[in-house]
Symmetry: D2
Subunit: 390 residues, 4 copies
């Protein structure tokens, strides 16, 4: 082991000198020229709270897709959507889907639930004590909520779900969190709630702040059933003739392919009976300063379609655990803020609008790729637009 | 509906003029100044094949963590790891885990499987015809492989897995794909294979190139069982005293907490009985030009620990579907290439090295967060380092 | 196609003549002598409501195991448990586990939840109408409960869980059902509730009485998370020396084997991280006139163990969806009633007692088989006691 | 604790005296008259190998359904099916489905896979040793098969599937098992194989005979993907007019209801996107001496339907893990054998015939209940035929 140590500066670790020292360190101790990573326009003074040991940026190219016509309760009208990706054909494919949706009258979007959670697990001597605690919890909900909410201005405790097993009680503390994604807010509030509980519960208990029932950064059935972040639906009815004309497939072929895909999803046991929601979500998340690791859970999707008697196709996606913010996290950084502004989603009161735009984008992408697979144009388009890939 | 249309240039859509036109379009038609997004050092001439309708970049801040001591078969020695993220505490937390692992002698890493697939589904008149086709497939495997491999220089068809149901045969065409991630390569090869099959199979059949059994961009049990991309293990044995000293928890408390977390994972039905693999994987993926949407599947994790009789803790993570490339995709772009070079992973013959470094990073992060939750330092560290988050 | 038609008698299809006619029919039209099946002591007059087209009985041999020492809230003391099975070693294995548990002071049992459901799905024109209906449902809960409960003397509507997706609202109508299992009761009550809803809801809606969210006769995550029937825990702490003496294994070997089994359960994705709960449950269900098809869901199990610092082993099973009755169904038939009486569980007010006995039996069986696998006595015991099997 | 001890007789525990002693014991020490349970025609001398501590029988009433018209490869023609159950309406409902299927030309059945497994897990010092062992296993497959097959006359080792994780290798030893279900056969053979491996493998290894990857008595994704027992398909195409006439629903209503049920299945995460396969399977299993606990896994079902352009409905069920025997286990007992003879399935060479009959029965039951739910006749029929249930 060598003694190479990443330079850090106690006073201001975001100062030009501190950053430069790390860039030099990289140049000296690795094979990287660290030239492009050192080229950025953001102001490092904005970075505390977002990153430690900063030394440069990743430049992720962005393409523009749209117009995306949305008939939401929060997003209304035409949007252009920036997609940050290095995957050839992605922007083109989403753009194609948006064109189809616009011609069909636009995508209807609805946020149907909204909650963020932290999920402590409480342990006891035996199952009966766990059950007694569960009842006590119900009786003291108000005080627990007060303790939790004392730590936050924007979070409200909605309810506590309980999942008893053995001598343990797994819980989900569900909060509304305003325009923030809310993972930290709920962590802090729930920690305070647990401290209050520990102090006031007459019996003995142990708790862990996270019992893997909020499954932060991990997709799960419980999050899909009970919502994490926004639960948002995007719907459209596509005329048969329009699909034939633009996508070169008949709606019944599209529907039948989807049914075979769905059985494949059931058998392979995915968290997503659609096509590629992660593509659009990731590209928007990177662009707008979301916590991109949340793609693991946010890309979960329930698709539902109907072939109507007249041949038209009703198509919908429900994103049950879409975690987004328009405030806090990376949303205020240089390019990230510009991208939120591009969507008209920067700042307070905009988070459901962002959720709706993302859901509409996902639906457009599902229809585009779904059609391409059936029309056997998929491989061909990658050949034409994805040349960088072997 | 307006007639606003994203400017495109038929000749060279990556020319300065074409890009500028789109930036102006953004400034005119949205609330975004598009100033920082227009500031980049990458050469747009490198972008065809990676993005369409390019108009700027996302600047994602990167921090440096390490040294990470790895005892792999491909990665050997100390590494510094750049993490692209906007989540405060992430870099600090991974760094803390890396310090622990280094003090314990480093992380042992092993790639135990390596395969990428495309998964066509074949349909027939009834189950017996599907079964007959399944046998025919076995008999013609060599010719099918030849047809597939004619389309690629680096892909080899390893085998075809078969999952019969009803009158359908779902398959997985498994390939080795060299240093490429291989999704496009396998798509093209499998399309050629299916074309050959369609031409030569004496009976009637229909196929869809993707039957949702490769679950591209979607996590699934089948991918976790049978590998998608790299299946890689990172292991370590941590002395009890070291854990106590550095993480302020005893190994038995850590182990017991893990067991409660694991039951939580089982009940909530996640694809990951660990803590937050998506954090480290996403941060490396953004930095190194991976297809970040693959985080959906790549973050799947099997954790396994043992508390040894002497109190030491054996800890391991297995990433069963880690999709990485050191060639193709976004790996050659400006900052992305520099980051791969930082890790000593740019270019051919490096992909398993990258997989090992990522697995070791993930293990470091699991130990760090796992300890913080038990030591109840988790909320506190977010308070100190994650100030940007409400 | 022939014209063979099973004889039926319009007047009394359970009359000796009607039954004899069917027995003759079997003898004439099949290769069966139908001699033993025609030999029974039950009175066919008791069968209307339990079976149609009755022609005989299956004689399923029963063995006796015990004493099983239970420290429950409803079951207190020693019980002998009749097990109806044709699998050699099953009774012996359970008996061995019961002996161990008795020597360790008995099994503690606790019913921690109790609910039965029917799960209608409601469909609308779009997601917003579904959401509006969801709110309406909350506002009219009292009237809906009244409509439901008007159909039953023993059922009470506890709450309605809601799972929105697309333009649909899946629900779970949760009821307490007294000593009945309650599937029919809840079906009837929920049908009445839906009729009331359909009549009073101002908008247009369609419903299906079962949307596969109660998953009757099918195991499911939702039933494991949210209980179907009884949620019951059985716990015990086993002294290390006792386990060594009776089971010929050390508790740490047993625990480590369990951990490997548990990882296997996670990877193979079972509804049961234990060993063979279905064996004991099925054998008691057949004996006591339960709806044996419910084994599909009732055998779901969460196991949780801890190796204590002194080497003793805490072991528990939680059965989250155990469906049992001591009233209605087959519980009043000749041998079935005798078996319920054998357990002291016949009639009203006994259903939780039965649930506790079953859970304790399951725990005994888990410990017995778990030990045998580790002690490598498993194959051997089947060789000795399971001779009828090839 | 009392000293009540179940009487056992060292010499012949199946002698009339031994049995009588236990019946007396029951009468003395419990509230049961043990009168009907003591009434049976089976010869206790046939019971060794099937049950220990025998003291009586459960009399389970059986009804007759049919004719069931099957166009299988093993089952050909009309069958009458005995169903052992205490659930009112079950026989009537299956009978109704069989009538529909017969009118539509019968059910086509196909066994598409057939294998039984035992699943040892092997442990090593680290992941690399586990990987080395995995290769060694491939190289010695022939010798391992020889060791396994030396213990059985009817079992053949087909292959060994491998699922590596951490420092462990989970395996599935897949066998063909003739007319036996094969759980004991494969247990014994695999134990011998493991003994050979332990003796010949040059490195150090530990194994457990069952690593929860065969999931005996527990449903699992791995068994549904890779078959346990028989994988059998039942298919039919139903004319629209026939469905309307007999079931009082239109095929498109039936299909649409099914699609909503299927989404419910996906969301609730069942092992079965159908209706109630466990009902028919359990009733046949009890009657024919199958290991009824296997209902937990055997009731798993993949349903797949298509609404044809002309309005006819293609419907199919695939049972991926149907465990059945016509030899061994309880198949030779008095009533059990008569029931197998009733189906023409007793003895060697009949097991696939039995699997086909069961699959056809399941399909009939799915169509019957599926229609009743849509026609809203379900609750009503239970009211009429299920009077014994509250």
């Amino acid at each position: 082991m060598t003694d190479r140590k990443i330079p850090r500066e106690a006073g201001d670790d975001y100062s030009p000198a501190a950053i430069r020292a790390r860039q030099e360190f990289v140049r000296t101790h690795t094979d990287s020229a660290a030239e492009h990573v050192a080229s950025y326009s953001l102001d490092p003074a904005t970075l505390p709270g977002n990153i430690e040991s900063f030394f440069g940026v990743a430049q992720v190219p962005m393409g523009l897709a749209g117009p995306l016509l949305v008939d939401g309760e929060h997003a209304q009208g035409e949007f252009f959507v920036q997609l940050a990706t290095t995957e050839g054909t992605l922007v083109a494919s989403y753009n194609r889907g948006m064109k189809l949706c616009r011609a069909a009258g636009g995508v209807t979007t609805t946020v149907i639930d909204d909650r963020m959670q932290r999920a402590p697990v409480f342990s006891f001597a035996d199952a009966r004590e766990a059950r007694a605690f569960s009842l006590w919890l119900d009786e003291h909900l108000e005080e627990i909520a007060a303790a939790a909410e004392a730590t936050t201005s924007s979070g409200k405790l909605l309810d506590i779900q309980k999942f008893p097993v053995s001598k343990l009680l797994y819980t989900r503390f569900n909060y509304s969190t305003g325009d923030a994604a809310g993972q930290n807010l709920t962590g802090k509030a729930t920690f305070a709630a647990c401290a209050w509980i520990k102090q006031h519960y007459p019996g003995e208990l142990h708790f862990l702040l996270e019992g893997q029932f909020a499954t932060d950064k991990k997709t799960s059935v419980v999050n899909m059933l009970h919502t994490r972040g926004k639960r948002v639906v995007a719907e459209i009815t596509l005329p048969a003739a329009l699909v034939e004309e633009q996508m070169h497939v008949s709606t019944d072929k599209l529907y039948n392919a989807r049914m075979r895909g769905q059985l494949g999803s059931i058998m392979s046991v995915t968290n997503n009976n659609g096509n590629h929601s992660a593509n659009g979500i990731t590209a928007i998340f990177i662009a707008t300063g979301q916590d991109v690791a949340n793609v693991a859970e946010s890309s979960a999707l329930y698709g539902f379609s109907e072939l109507l008697p007249n041949g038209d196709l009703y198509a919908s996606v429900t994103l049950p655990s879409l975690i987004v913010a328009t405030y806090g996290g990376g949303t205020g950084l240089a390019t990230q803020r510009e991208c939120l502004e591009l969507l008209g989603c920067y700042g307070t009161g905009k988070v459901r609008k962002l959720a709706e735009i993302i859901a509409a984008t996902v639906l457009a992408g599902e229809l585009s790729l779904g059609s391409a697979v059936v029309a056997e144009e998929w491989v061909q388009s990658h050949d034409e637009l994805g040349r960088n890939r072997p």
